[in-house]
Symmetry: C2
Subunit: 204 residues, 2 copies
DNA sequence: AATCAAAATTAACGATTTGTTCGTTATTTA
DNA sequence: TAAATAACGAACAAATCGTTAATTTTGATT
């Protein structure tokens, strides 16, 4: 909102952000103290309290800053659903974009996911979906079935995507964003059973 | 493993379990102190350290105890997949069983999910899936496509189910286990797009 | 019922962390 | 250059931590 005028403020906050990541790389978040953060950021401990309420406050703002950066810069808002029709190729492009952004910020996500910050990220991700994506789907809210299953399906898809990203970005010898995106899109459009090459006991 | 012989031990540990839940209902886990747990459980603070390493240890064991109870008692291990064929009705029964068990332990899950303990639960849930379910799928490991997409799909499905459970058990005026199970099975067998009543731009 | 082993209590300890205060110094902005 | 304000450094009481040791209480066993 308001521009952070003073250079000193920007410097302090940036240092604390980086200090948090560096420390979370080494040890569990719960064991990190304000003094350690101040040491790592090379600021006085009292200065920390001029900017953040506590370390949880710092973490939350840090995560939001990163996700805003990624979602707003790299994931361009496009309409991949029109009049009840899912445009697979557009959807594929969006997922690929997200995965590429994640890969660019590899270190951040690896640290966060290995520190079990999934929920913090997921909650804010869902918030962004509600703010950015859902308004674009207004023209299809007429469908009764969609309306009935809207909430549960959003939860389901976002949880699934976050789960995949968590697994993907923290696994060794991971495949490329395109390949993962292909699977994700396949699962969402045709279902996991189809992607796995299985068959169903009932035809319909 | 070994039976907890002494009544006093059982009593102390049970008191601490309940104290943890009671306190987590009122305040964030990060702000809970050992002294508070001891007070609530009506035991001495030193006694806590005779049983648990710290409060994270208590939380983890508490979660595992609950999930073991639920998964081993209520979710009977059945084979819902044979020779590459998914038996929809059996799968539906399993999901319903899980949701019913969650509903029986409503308070536990509400507290845990509202306290952002999803990951603790998810991780152990995935562990159980690997131990209990995957061995039963041994006869279909031959499929190349399955093997290639196995890990990612497990992450995807488990994440999705946990996400749905989280949303479901913490939402007001929630629907019954059967109805949710039907949606979940529908999503997994036919895909979210179908369940939402949408169409795809490409036929295949 | 009596005995023994184990669990829980009590009090105390030094060390660490916390959140806040103050007056002083350094830097930025205008 | 001058005024504003951010950061520093030191110090404070309060709370929490994890552990110790001696003592008391409890339960399981015979």
């Amino acid at each position: 909102m308001t521009k952070k005028q003073d250079l000193r403020v920007q410097r302090t906050r940036k240092s604390l952000n980086q200090a948090l990541l560096t420390l979370m790389e080494k040890k569990k978040f719960s064991t990190i103290t304000i003094q350690e953060l101040a040491n790592e950021a090379m600021i006085n401990r009292a200065t920390f309290y001029l900017h953040y309420y506590d370390k949880y406050d710092l973490l939350e703002i840090c995560v939001k800053d990163y996700l805003d950066e990624i979602m707003l810069k790299h994931v361009t808002p496009v309409r991949h659903i029109r009049e009840g029709v899912v445009y697979t190729d557009v959807f594929y492009a969006i997922v690929t974009d997200i995965l590429k952004s994640v890969e660019i910020n590899e270190r951040f996500f690896q640290i966060m996911f290995q520190s079990n910050c999934d929920n913090l990220i997921k909650d804010y991700f869902i918030e962004l979906v509600h703010d950015k994506f859902l308004p674009q789907l207004g023209d299809m809210f007429s469908g009764r079935q969609f309306e009935r299953h809207k909430n549960i399906t959003i939860q389901l898809i976002v949880s699934a995507i976050i789960g995949v990203i968590t697994w993907w970005i923290t696994s060794e010898d991971r495949e490329g964003p395109e390949e993962i995106a292909q699977i994700v899109v396949g699962v969402i459009t045709k279902g996991p059973v189809y992607v796995l090459g299985l068959k169903m006991s009932e035809p319909n």
